[in-house]
Amino acid sequence: MTVKVIKGKRFIEVDPAKCAGCITCMLRCSFRSGNKFNLSASCIRVERLVGRPNEFDVSFNENCDACLTCVRYCPYGALTASKEAEEI
């Protein structure tokens, strides 16, 4: 499943199947906005799915400005900057 977040002219495409659960995106996100680490303050959320072993739901909250920090630092290619505008 692929989900997208769109903010203005920037787009983040998510492929949860590629997510390995390292939460680097969450740490990078909170660090970018506050120079400190706070998982709950991150605009991106990686959450383990119950009953679907070691698979993850990746979502964004309304504060996400699609700065692409999470895309840049995702080691597994689960997040990509998309060029095509699509509906959320």
């Binding site: 660090f31 303050a41 072993p53 597994y76």
Partner: protein
């Protein structure tokens, strides 16, 4: 506390009366002991009486994090624990990955100390200042993975350390897994949890921040590390194969069996089998990464016809074993069939929560050997016929975890089993040090720093990973590369000439420096597995530590702090009764390991010189001399 990298508190939970106490982390303690294993040791020295019954309320479970946990430093994932072991009475260091350390710190706690005993099954949840014990009667009896799923349904997002059946039944060879991934607790952590009626420890995602002293400096250092990781020539292949990318080459020519007396070779076409296993593994593999790890050495495996299985790093050894009459043999079937069986075995033993590597496999071989030799029979095994088949292995796993039937004899480890069996079985125990098996027989590989670590350190996790890192467990490194490794570990140039000659190195003395380096990983919260630790040097750790905490430090100062951690660990275990006598190498090492057409004998690292017991004694003398302690 003003220092960066720390959440700032120790959380104390008494299961007997439910009392919860939050205590600020003392800055002087942090400056002296850093964190993780360093502070765990101090807490253990203060809180656990050395002669306490490990399964009594007086034992404490101490879980620690380091200043790197909670940050984005690659590999900063580890959770460290210490407790008195029901397996051997020692204080083992045990650590595991996942995201637990990050989640615990997100609620404001660096350390967690659990004491007492609940009257009924409970699990502990931690979310900021809300710390509670919840009834666990409805999940008592679930295996570790099913319990994880059930708890996650109730408390997601969270990180979970559960116990399986073996822990509930207080098996001294029980272990557990953090979030179905990182193994933690060799030496019976799960049994200690079981004795306290504690089904799980749950760190929910809290709302507290971890601040660092110099964010810009930290970002620059980490970006440099990431650049090296992404440029690593094996990274792309590791993304596909995980740990097996590196470990496939480590499979020895056969399986050591029959009480370490013989090596039963794999089939002659092992290399072809390995290649097929590896390709199959890659197609079956879903990457799992611990927090901040860009290399994902953990696996979830999906093969048609079986449920998903997990392991911390699946080796193909077990898959190959299904072809070998040594242990777990299964006749017939395709490669996929064999691999499916191997995965089923991994899954079963992990869910139940038994230590496969350092206890169960050797224990199974031991009792099957006794049975083959007529020393025990069906009268001793509750009617169970013991052979080396896959079905027997699986039956033994289930019985052992449940402490049922013949499993009641096996469930507390090799030394306990030998005593219970009687018939002079205790005198037949081989290749066991401090109550755990030496999983990698040095007669096949040469004597590695890892083996010295396993002689010296009670418990296995740090014993294997420390002592020099990758050259510890992957033999055959050229001397020039070992020199580089020593430099990376922070051996001062002035000492290099003392530790190295033109064609060899002093294994005992060098192991001390490897211990100091890798011990730091367990203090800082870093993963010391070779896949990620290879990108760090002592100097890098010092720079990161300075940037995170604001305590400007040097490599030498950091190394001294690690030495203090080792000293306190030695003191803990000295108080528990361990002496130099317990470091003695097993007798079997000095007898030939027989294989058709070949005999393996104990050689040094370079495989040039056969070793005697006196040589091993010299290694030990040199290790302790270099560590500057009297044991």
């Amino acid at each position: 506390m003003k220092l960066g990298g720390y959440a700032g508190n120790i959380l104390y939970v008494n299961l007997t009366d439910g009392a919860v106490r939050k205590q600020p982390l003392d800055e002087d303690l942090v400056r002296e002991c850093i964190g993780g294993a360093g502070i765990n040791n101090r807490l253990a020295l203060d809180l656990i009486l050395p002669d306490v019954n490990p399964l009594s309320p007086g034992n404490a479970i101490i879980i620690g994090t380091g200043p790197f946990n909670g940050t984005f430093i690659p590999g900063a994932s580890q959770t460290m624990s210490v407790y008195k072991s029901p397996l051997n009475g020692s204080f083992p260091h045990s650590n595991g990955g996942g995201v637990f350390s990050h989640f615990l710190k997100s609620s404001g706690y660096d350390f967690l100390v659990i004491t007492g005993r609940s009257q009924w099954p409970v699990y502990l949840t931690i979310e900021n200042d809300s710390v509670s014990l919840k009834h666990a009667s409805d999940i008592w009896g679930l295996d570790g993975f099913d319990a994880t799923d059930e708890i996650r349904l109730r408390h997601s997002p969270c990180s979970i350390i559960p116990i399986g059946i073996a822990g509930e039944r207080q098996s001294a060879i029980s272990v557990t897994h953090i979030d179905k991934g990182g193994t933690i607790g060799s030496g019976g952590l799960a049994a200690v949890m079981g004795s306290k009626k504690l089904k799980a420890i749950v760190a929910c995602m809290g709302s507290r921040s971890i601040e660092v002293a110099d964010p810009k400096r930290l970002r620059v250092i980490v970006d440099g590390i990431l650049e090296r990781i992404t440029g690593y020539h094996l990274r792309d292949e590791m993304m596909r194969g995980g740990a097996m990318t590196m470990t496939a080459a480590w499979i020895p020519p056969g399986v050591v069996a029959r009480n370490s007396s013989e090596l039963i070779p794999y089939p002659p076409d092992l290399n072809e089998l390995k290649a097929e296993f590896y390709e199959l593994h890659k197609t079956a593999r879903k990457k799992i990464a611990c927090a901040t790890c860009p290399l994902s050495d953990k696996d979830r495996l999906d093969l048609p016809g079986s449920r998903s299985a997990y392991d911390t790093a699946v080796f193909m050894e077990m898959a190959a074993m299904t072809y070998s009459p040594a242990l777990g043999y299964s006749s017939g079937g395709t490669i996929a069939d064999r691999y499916r069986l191997a995965i089923q075995y991994y899954d079963e033993i992990n869910r139940l929560g038994l230590d496969r590597v350092y206890s169960f496999n050797g224990l199974a071989d031991f009792v099957i050997t006794l049975y083959e030799q007529g020393i025990i029979n069906k009268g001793d095994t509750n009617g169970l016929e013991l052979d080396r088949s896959y079905d027997t292995l699986l039956t033994l796993v289930r019985m052992t975890a449940a402490r049922e039937g013949f499993g009641a004899v096996l469930c507390d480890g090799i030394m306990s089993a030998a005593r219970k069996i009687g018939n002079l079985a205790a005198g037949r125990v081989q290749n066991v040090v401090k109550g755990q098996f030496i999983a990698f027989d040095p007669r096949m590989s040469g004597f590695l720093p890892m083996h010295l670590g396993m002689l010296v350190h009670p418990g296995r996790t740090l014993g294997v990973a420390a002592a020099m890192g990758a050259p510890s467990y992957s033999p055959g490194w050229p001397l020039a590369d070992i020199r580089k490794q020593a430099e990376r570990c922070g051996v001062p140039p002035s000492d290099m000439e003392r530790l190295f000659t033109a064609d060899s190195f002093n294994l005992g003395r060098l192991a001390r420096h490897g211990d100091d380096f890798f011990g730091l990983f367990n203090m800082l919260g870093q993963c010391h597995r070779l896949y990620i630790s290879r990108f760090y040097s002592l100097q890098t750790l010092a720079e990161l530590y300075s940037a995170v905490t604001g305590i400007e430090t040097t490599a030498i100062e950091l190394k001294r702090a690690s030495a203090r951690m080792w000293d306190s660990w030695l003191e803990l275990n000295r108080q528990a009764g361990y002496t130099r006598v317990d470091d003695e190498p097993p007798h079997i090492w000095f007898k030939p390991l027989k294989s058709p057409g070949h005999e393996y004998r104990l050689y040094d690292y370079s495989l040039k010189h056969e070793l005697s017991r006196g040589d091993i004694t010299d290694y030990l003398d040199e290790y302790y001399s270099e560590r500057e302690v009297q044991v």
